[in-house]
């Protein structure tokens, strides 16, 4: 694993050398200026760019790795050489997370690499749909213990169909009825899986 990470480091240097950058120090120095032409932009814009290219994610994981390593070393303990403690393996994993998080964060700024997140601009409406979808998942989670899975599934499927853009209420209700009936057959009749029945129990 160490060899892998070292390799990534050398690999990165070679690539940046091709782009006219010679040392790691210069890469870091040029990140904000060469690759994304961020000169003069606000800190917030830079942060947004870091999030969009995945660098922020990588660096967050690196920080998490450091935290895992410190927690493992201080709170869990390494044990002895022969009786390895429960902190040894998490410590190794934490170190690996820190190193690879750092390296992949740096590699997100590669000049020749196109990031899918930067290529495609999705309309905000699409992201709103995603947010609504995730919210409906949570609604199902909240409704199921109280109402039971049948009413919850029926209501949430209608909502999801509308979020996905299915035209007409009749179609959405028909789809929802079919899905709920199918689930009932599958879980209750065929496989006797004991799901919460709520008000229908």
């Amino acid at each position: 694993m160490l060899i892998n990470t070292l390799d990534s480091g050398f690999h990165l240097s070679a690539r940046h050398r091709q782009a006219g950058v010679t040392t790691f120090y210069e890469i870091i120095k040029n990140i904000s200026t060469v690759n994304f032409q961020m000169r003069g932009r606000s800190l917030l814009t830079r942060l947004w760019q870091w999030i969009r290219c995945g660098a922020a994610f990588s660096f967050s994981i690196a920080i998490m790795g450091v935290a895992v390593a410190i927690f493992s070393a201080t709170q869990l303990g390494f044990g002895t050489k022969a009786e390895v403690g429960c902190g040894t393996f998490p410590f190794i994993v934490g170190v690996a997370l820190a190193i690879t998080g750092y390296l992949s964060g740096i590699s997100s700024f590669r000049p020749e690499q196109k990031k899918p997140g930067l290529e495609t601009q999705q309309p905000p409406r699409s992201f709103r749909r995603v947010a609504y979808t995730v919210i409906t998942y949570f609604v199902w989670l909240l409704l199921t213990p109280h109402l039971g899975y049948i009413p919850a599934t029926f209501a949430v499927t209608i909502a999801m169909a509308k979020i996905a853009g299915l035209e007409g209420w009749i179609r959405s209700i028909a789809l929802s009825l079919s899905v709920t009936f199918f689930l009932y057959l599958l879980f209750e009749v065929l496989f006797y899986v004991d799901l919460p029945r709520g008000i229908l129990g």
């Binding site: 998490p90 994993v93 690879t100 390296l103 899975y149 499927t157 789809l175 899905v179």
Partner: protein, 501 residues
């Protein structure tokens, strides 16, 4: 022939009505999953776990493998008829398959692919039948040092072969290893990273993570950019015959694809999709007319499809004989086995030979079922691919929710699934491969356990590991492979693998 009596016994088990039914249901669901673009085999297998429990260990395993295997068959149908790959392993089939359909040879392409997949599946099963028991016997001599070095070797291969960026591959693998060890330490009983008294005591459920990463993330992707359904090339049953020339040209690519796929399935981290790319590339190099690839060459359709079927069964060999999953789908299958209290690995052949041989025999039957199922019902399956995302996504979402909940009846698992889904979506956008995370979650506890046992065995010294030939072999192979990858990446750093095809 090796295992002849056992395989006969296996057929007796496979012909049990419950096992036959499980095989049929698995193949059918797998084919539908292969056809649908919103749900891959990994998520589908994870969702089938609660149902597999109802079937029992042997039938449950047959059901899950049928889903995996059926997905490989189903993917080709829509690739050829609609130019939509149902799953990643069928992307290459679109290149020549759809062109054949446009030239009016869709029926021939479908028939050749179905026959090729059947041949590949059967050959790979023979390979599994021959190699798995001896490998299992050899693995009985493996101790913790051998397993530890095998895992280190697997990590090197996984990180190098998954994705384009090795650092991102290792990052996701390490993240998986970390998530795998969350919970109570199995030896000392100490809670680790549990964030409170009860929340994560039982650990993070692999299935919830897999459904999130491979199911919910895909749903989000489709919701953001729904593709309009395409027109389907109509195929009637009487069209499903290839001419003599097409049959003649497909024989060798089918055999080459089968063998290549089987052996590529043995390599950690290589999904069947990679085997299809290699197979296509090989055929293009061997062909007298490489410039015609992409315009409807039979070789470009049958070879990748044979390779993906071979690779699926090849991946079962390390899973069943060593108990180590080399792909995310195999990790889910292993999780399913554990839910049935069956431990994959060398002891499987001693403790539960009926399960192994019944499973192998059922795979032979499933292979045949898929051939029979796919040809006459090709029209119906291709129409499934044209279901609008507005209808499909709510259905898949509900299946993910109810399916994940029904495994442990835990609302926390649903939280995990949703978070894994959102996480997986962003990982895809930022180019982080998610498969190593799932594999890491399985390998994490195994690696830690073997590390501890090795250190105990050698009284805290690591040097004696080099005195054990098998362990030494794995470690040297890992170093050599890494050096090879490093040297190669320096040479070809400017071109992508797909471009080189």
């Amino acid at each position: 022939m090796m295992g002849f009596a056992e395989i006969l016994k296996g057929f007796a088990i496979a012909f049990d009505p419950v096992n036959l039914m499980a095989c049929f249901v698995g193949c059918l669901i797998g084919t539908v999953v292969g056809v649908l673009p919103g749900l891959g085999p990994t998520a589908a297998m994870a969702l089938m776990l609660p149902f597999s429990i109802q079937y029992g260990a042997t039938a449950g395993l047959i059901l899950l493998a049928g889903v995996w295997y059926g997905a490989m068959y189903g993917g080709s149908t829509t690739s050829i008829l609609v130019n939509i790959p149902g799953e990643a392993a069928s992307v290459v089939t679109c290149l020549d398959g759809y062109q054949m359909a446009r030239r009016g040879r869709a029926g021939a392409a479908l028939a050749l692919v179905a026959i090729g997949s059947w041949v590949a599946g059967t050959l790979a099963l023979i390979g599994l039948q021959i190699f798995a028991p001896p490998l299992g016997v050899a693995a009985l001599r493996f101790g913790p040092p051998e397993y530890l070095s095998l895992m280190i070797f697997s990590f090197v291969l996984l990180s190098a072969l998954i994705g384009e960026n090795q650092a991102k591959g290792i990052l996701m693998l390490a993240l998986g290893l970390f998530l795998g060890i969350v919970g109570i330490d199995p030896i000392l009983g100490v809670p680790r990273f549990t964030l409170g008294p009860t929340l994560l005591m039982q650990g993070i459920d692999l299935i919830a993570v897999a459904v999130g990463l491979f199911g919910v993330a895909e749903i989000i992707q489709v919701i953001i950019a729904p593709d309009a359904p395409k027109a389907v090339s109509k195929v009637r049953l009487r069209d499903l015959y290839p001419n003599t020339e097409e049959v003649r040209r497909s024989v060798k690519p089918t055999l080459r694809g089968s063998v290549l796929g089987f052996f590529m399935g043995l390599i950690p981290g290589l999904s069947p999709a990679v085997a299809t790319f290699f197979s296509y590339s090989l055929e293009k190099r061997l062909s007298r007319y490489p410039e015609q690839f992409g315009s409807g060459m039979v070789e470009g359709v049958v070879a990748p499809e044979s390779a993906n079927n071979g690779a699926v069964i090849g991946a079962l060999l390390p899973l069943l004989a060593l108990g180590i999953p080399f792909s995310a789908t195999a990790a889910v299958l292993l999780s399913g086995l554990r839910m049935h209290k069956v431990e994959a690995g060398p002891m499987l052949f001693q403790d539960a030979p009926d399960i192994f041989w019944g499973f192998v025999a059922a795979m032979y039957l499933g292979n045949l079922m898929l051939l029979i199922l796919n040809l006459p019902l090709v029209g119906i399956f291709s129409r499934i691919a044209t279901i609008r995302p507005q209808v499909l996504m709510p259905v898949v979402s509900i299946l993910c929710l109810v399916g994940t909940y029904s495994i442990r009846f835990s609302t926390f698992d649903i939280w995990v699934m949703i978070m894994a889904g959102v996480f997986g979506f962003f990982c895809r956008r930022w180019g982080f491969p998610v498969a190593p995370l799932v594999i890491g979650m399985v390998l994490g506890p195994m690696t830690e356990n073997n590390l501890r046992l090795t250190m105990q065995l050698f009284s805290g010294q690591l040097l004696p590991i080099f005195y054990r030939p098998v362990a030494m072999g794995f470690l040297v192979s890992a170093v050599l492979f890494q050096l090879f990858v490093y040297g190669r990446s320096r040479k070809t750093s400017s071109t992508k693998p797909v471009d080189r095809l």
